[in-house]
Amino acid sequence: MDEQRPTLQITWPFGLTPALALLLLATSLGLLEGLLRIPALQALLPPPSRGTGHAQFEVQYQNFIRYQRAHPELNCIIMGSSQTWAGIDPEKLRAAYLEAGGQPLDCFNFGVQVITSAEAATLAELAIRETSPRVVIYGLSVRDLAEYEGSLINRVSWVFQQNPWIRYRLGTFTLSGWLTEHSAAYGYYLTFRARLSEAEWRTRQDAAAATREDGFRVVPFGNNVGPILPDRAILPEFYDALGDYRPSPERLAGLDQILSLQNENLRVIVIEVPLPDATIAVFSGGKEAYPVLFSQPLRERVAASGALYLNGMDAGPFPDEEWADFDHLNTDGASHLSRWLGERLAEELTDAAP
């Protein structure tokens, strides 16, 4: 008898509570979304996050969006790691470029800490989707191309490959990415989550305080000690990258991706960011090997793509007082390099009229 009766024996009404729950959810989320889109309220809140967990990237991205809206004349993006962030000052570059006879070159410094050429390629794609620059300046040095690993660099690499918003912006649909892009409530939720991590929030505040509206890092590094090499035990990846230099295929591919942006409307300039002598001495083969194994192949690769290669070392010498540490220039060093870069670009880009 029981064998004949169906297992599922539901009677109506059925499922009213879940239906009511969905209705309540839709209504309350709709109201919240509307509320959080009011500019007056937005002004009181910290900016919506992209959920990357890379606090300084989040700050730079916000700065970039804000700067681009406030400066429609923006026609140049400077990209690279923290060396570029602290090493190329858009203000000094603009002044030197104008003075040397060029036309206005309005740059935003989109330097992001702990990235290599692989992540810089992603960053370039993101930036170019937001605006249409005439010039992309990519600052790099040996660590951007070397094959090496470290917990921080691996984590940042993972973020740039896996973050749902970055993937969404680059054309792969992800629900979280779509919500991050289009929902104010979701963006503020991500900010709230970032706020829960004390370390991430502090890094975010420090990065915001240290960064000028054009993206340049103005505040000296905490360890502003000059070109003194780090302890091997504290930063083993630095010695891995330089002491046993081998270019990483993945990072070279990132460089090629940036070089491939070059076209008749967009000039790509690759500038080799200078390093102090003490740091170059760590390079496998020493100071003599550095130009042969690193600079020359880089120059050839860039030239083959049709982009422009500049060696920041040519702006030298950079005295000890111009170094924040073993591979970052301080603001004086950045002025020095940026003025030289502005003059060189004026010579090179006069015909291009950016």
Binding site: D2, E3, Q4, R5, P6, T7, L8, Q9, I10, T11, F14, L16, T17, P18, L20, A21, L22, L23, L24, L25, S28, L29, G51, Q162, P164, L175, S176, L179, Y189, L190, R193, L196, S197, E198
Partner: protein, 475 residues
């Protein structure tokens, strides 16, 4: 396939859709097929091992039931076979890995490391209890191979229990099932509560108890270390209780009720009560097949109240077996030993006279008892979670890193405190008014709560890129 994924939700819906259509005589075969498909999502080797274990135990039980002589020998062969499988796949893997690590210059575990099938420990204890029950004539050997195979492989309980006895589970398989409005509401509630425990509470507490603290406890203040212990205690509890709740809910939608495994264990007022509320199905198994046989044997020799051996040996041995069941490692044995000692100490007064039932003690003693049990249980989680050197460093930092107040970890402390509010409220509600108390609330309140849960689970699933696997899946 983790049971908190959308893939699993889709799998369950598909299984249910077909299951509800099928007549009863085909339903168990369908559930068995689905269970093996589920198990195949881990690796095919796991399924092969499960098939072998099923066949061997099925035939052994039949022989055991029919045997006129050498019943005991057959039982021990069966127990030995199951323990050998466990020892080889779980413990030998550990020792081989350690051995090859010593051989390798890198010190890394070698390629000979053996794969531990998910949920093997759960299957083995079910197999042993089945054989023992058949030999004691407490249950009959199954004559329905499909039902018996399903007893081992039933997917809602396959990876982390609850540990069901054949004598209660097989009759459920034999009879037709009924799933009505009430069953759907109750089991949907269990699933929702399980998701809240796993996705929201356990994940948050896990984030608040980072492994980095174990690696360098000296950089944390005692208060931060205490907060870590509290967070870990609630993380492991909600992780496992969440899994069980989801498993019971899914099984309930099939029409098969699984045993409850947790009843607000951190409200226990002594350790006997704690083990009646924590991982109940394993505790009951240990009680019936380890503790009571030892205790009976000791009491046969000396039936007096002052039998000190009976005070000490059964709890210590039982908890050491429990520790070994979890993992063959020294730190885990320390965890078991600690719980054994806790139980011995609290039963010392029983040497003089009957213990006063805990519910008859004054209120303040019940509260104080609960606090003491929680603190000691939380301390015991340390060797459960960490290696002995890590646990030692942790305790040293806890004792010496004064001042008590942290300089930088207010967010962590605030986080633990904030998460304790909903975690304790959920336990208090369920302990006081029943597991399904929510179904008695007004519909609008239920809907509001469900809306909040849907939102929270969605947000967590979208932003925790790597939801940790269930802790007990590792056993």
């Amino acid at each position: 396939m983790s049971i908190t994924t959308l893939t699993f939700a889709g799998f369950v819906l598909l299984v249910l859709a077909v299951y509800y259509i099928l007549p009863h005589r085909f339903q168990n075969a369908w559930l068995l097929t689905a269970s093996y498909v589920f198990y195949l999502t881990f690796t095919w080797q796991f399924s092969a091992i499960l098939v072998v274990m099923t066949l061997v135990n099925y035939w052994l039980a039949r022989w055991l039931e029919q045997a006129e002589r050498r019943k005991k020998a057959l039982l021990w062969i069966g127990i030995g076979f199951n323990l050998a499988v466990l020892a080889f796949l779980k413990y030998a893997g550990y020792f081989v890995a350690q051995f090859t690590a010593r051989l390798n210059s890198s010190g890394e575990p070698g390629a000979l490391a053996i794969l531990l099938p998910v949920g093997l420990s759960f299957t083995v204890v079910q197999a042993i209890s089945y054989l023992v029950d058949v030999s004691r004539k407490q249950t009959q050997a199954s004559t329905r191979p499909v039902d018996f195979a399903l007893y081992f492989a039933y997917f809602p309980k396959l990876t982390s229990g609850p540990i069901e006895r054949a004598r209660t589970f097989l009759p459920l398989l034999a009879q037709p099932r009924r799933v009505d409005n009430r069953a759907i509401a109750e089991n949907f509630t269990r699933i929702v509560v399980g998701l809240v425990r796993k996705m929201i509470l356990a994940n948050a507490f896990t984030a608040l108890a980072p492994t980095s603290v174990l690696q360098d406890p000296s950089s944390s203040s005692p208060l931060a270390l205490m907060a870590w212990l509290v967070a870990y205690a609630f993380a492991i509890y909600n992780d496992f209780a969440g899994y069980t709740s989801i498993a019971r809910g899914v099984s309930g939608l099939i029409g098969i009720e699984l045993s409850p495994n947790f009843e607000a264990p951190y409200f226990s007022r002594n350790f006997t009560e704690f083990w009646n509320r924590w991982h109940i199905s394993l505790s009951n198994w240990l009680r019936d097949y380890i503790y009571l046989p030892i205790s009976r044997a000791l009491l046969r020799r000396n039936p007096s109240r002052g039998n000190i051996a009976n005070l000490i040996v059964p709890p210590i041995v039982t908890m050491l077996v429990s520790a070994l069941w979890h993992e063959a490692a020294l730190h885990m044995l320390i965890w078991g030993l600690l719980h054994g000692i806790y139980q011995v100490v609290e039963r010392i007064p029983s040497l003089r006279g009957p213990l006063i039932p805990v519910q008859k003690l004054p209120r303040w003693r019940q509260v104080a008892g609960a606090l003491v049990v929680f603190v000691l249980a939380a301390l015991a989680w340390l060797p459960f979670r960490a290696s002995l050197p890590e646990a030692g460093r942790f305790l040293a930092a806890l004792a010496t890193n004064w001042p008590l107040l942290p300089s930088t970890s207010w967010m962590g402390l605030a986080g633990v405190t904030a998460m304790l509010v909903p975690a304790l409220a959920l336990d208090a509600l369920q302990a006081h008014s029943g597991e399904l108390v929510f179904l008695r609330w007004p519909r609008l309140v239920q809907a509001g709560l469900l809306a909040g849960v849907i939102l929270a689970v969605f947000l967590v699933s979208q932003t925790y890129l790597n939801v940790p696997t269930f802790v007990y899946q590792g056993f």
